[in-house]
């Protein structure tokens, strides 16, 4: 097993996928060198480490790169299995359920909320907001099933699915501030609303999750750069 030394994370401050990995590394109690990337001017190191997708996050462990946030999270849990907290459950069926919902979040939630930000018309934005709410309604059910009455998706403490969903919360807050969309309606998704607050209050989240305002500033910069037709509040 590779030693703990020489761990680098190539990231970008507002990427939810990078935040996801930082959360995982926090859970494992692993220290690393964080290297902020300029995605409009990608470094040699990034291009060399992720030649296929040229994206962040990339974890470089002992000189070897690992790409794709969910792959990195699983890697961290396996290679540092003796350290810190377990991220994945032990039971194969529970693992399959966690993987299913994590894939669902990346396939359906992320494009919906990014779509709200990028929408060129009010109609398009409302459409994307509706999509996001459908996803959150499904996640409310998932939470009820997975948590079995406990505080987190994984039970007593955060696990794989908490990280997979939770890394997006600061962006949902940013979009709420910019466009007034309410994602967590205590009337409609009470469990998820309570979980979101609880998650944001964990030591891990307070340490690695950026302020929603950082995402707002970034979104406005993107809009200015690419000329969006819609204005945020």
């Amino acid at each position: 097993m590779a030693g703990e030394g020489d761990i680098k994370l190539l990231g970008m401050v507002v990427s939810p996928f990078v935040v996801r990995v930082r959360m995982a590394l926090h859970r494992k109690g692993v220290s690393y060198e964080y290297v902020e990337q300029d995605l409009f001017n990608k470094s040699e190191l990034l291009l060399r480490s992720n030649p296929v997708n040229k994206k962040v996050p990339v974890l470089i462990h002992g000189g070897k790169p690992i790409c794709e946030s969910l792959v990195i999270v699983q890697y961290a849990d396996e290679v540092w299995s003796g350290k810190g907290a377990s991220i994945f459950p032990a039971d194969p069926h529970e693992r399959a359920v966690a993987r299913f919902w994590a894939a669902y979040v990346d396939d359906k939630l992320f494009p919906a909320y990014i779509g709200i930000m990028k929408a060129a018309t009010e109609e398009a934005r409302a459409e994307k907001a509706k999509e996001a709410l459908v996803v959150l309604a499904n996640l409310e059910e998932a939470f009820a099933q997975c948590s079995k009455g406990k505080p987190f998706f994984a039970g007593d403490s955060v696990g794989y699915l908490d990280l997979a969903v939770g890394c997006n919360l600061f962006w949902l807050e940013a979009i709420r501030k910019m466009f007034g969309v309410t994602f967590f309606d205590v009337g409609k998704t009470p469990l998820l609303a309570a979980w979101a607050e609880r998650f944001a209050g964990t030591e891990m989240a307070r340490e690695v999750v950026p302020d929603a305002d950082t995402a707002v500033v970034f979104a406005k910069k993107l809009q200015a750069r690419f000329g969006s037709n819609t204005s945020a509040k």
Binding site: C67, Q74, R99, F100
Partner: protein, 237 residues
Amino acid sequence: MAGGDDLKLLGAWASPFVTRVKLALNFKGLSFEDVEEDLSNKSELLLSSNPVHKKVPVLVHNGKPICESVIIVQYIDEAFAGIGPALLPSDPYERAIARFWAAYVDDKVLVAPWVQSLRAKTEEEKSEGLKQTFAAVETLEGALRECSKGEGYFGGETVGLVDISLGSLLSWLNATEVISGTKIFDPVKTPLLAAWMERFSKLDAAKAALPEVDRVVEFAKKRQAQAAAAAAASETK
């Protein structure tokens, strides 16, 4: 097979994602009930087992459903860890590489542009789809070279997750060649993949899981005709 295990696969014969699960079950030496779904009239069992996506494949193991083909394959590997060969390597870094490439196979880069080229209504659409597909295939050739380390499979000496992920597409790759004359794994441009395709197709577990190419050709042609008819019907005269 372990005593008392009830395995049901809800599937559709033409779906490469269903084939993928059959491959995994076959390579592990597991017996299962193969339930063919009529996708235009989905069963109660399918709808209740996969309420979110309502899609095949779904593996039902002792009454508990598992959905999404790559997730099912990993589940099979983990739930039946003592039985048959391991589908993922034991080293965490190699596992990460296998997961990365399995995701790449399914990502919009390979499957979507190829499907686009099959369904294309214009020559432009078709060639754009094919261009992206060939670019992705070249990348996969490099991946095979690295992962196989001189052996025959992405998994090295034995078949692994990436072989199963990519192998599930073989009948469709062959059907594409029959219909359009295009070889997706060109032996000149991507010799390792072309050789891998032949080697994989000869395995008993693969032969038992992959649908017959003729049947896929017929299915694809019917679909193309239906799409063309629908397009013609929607055009105003």
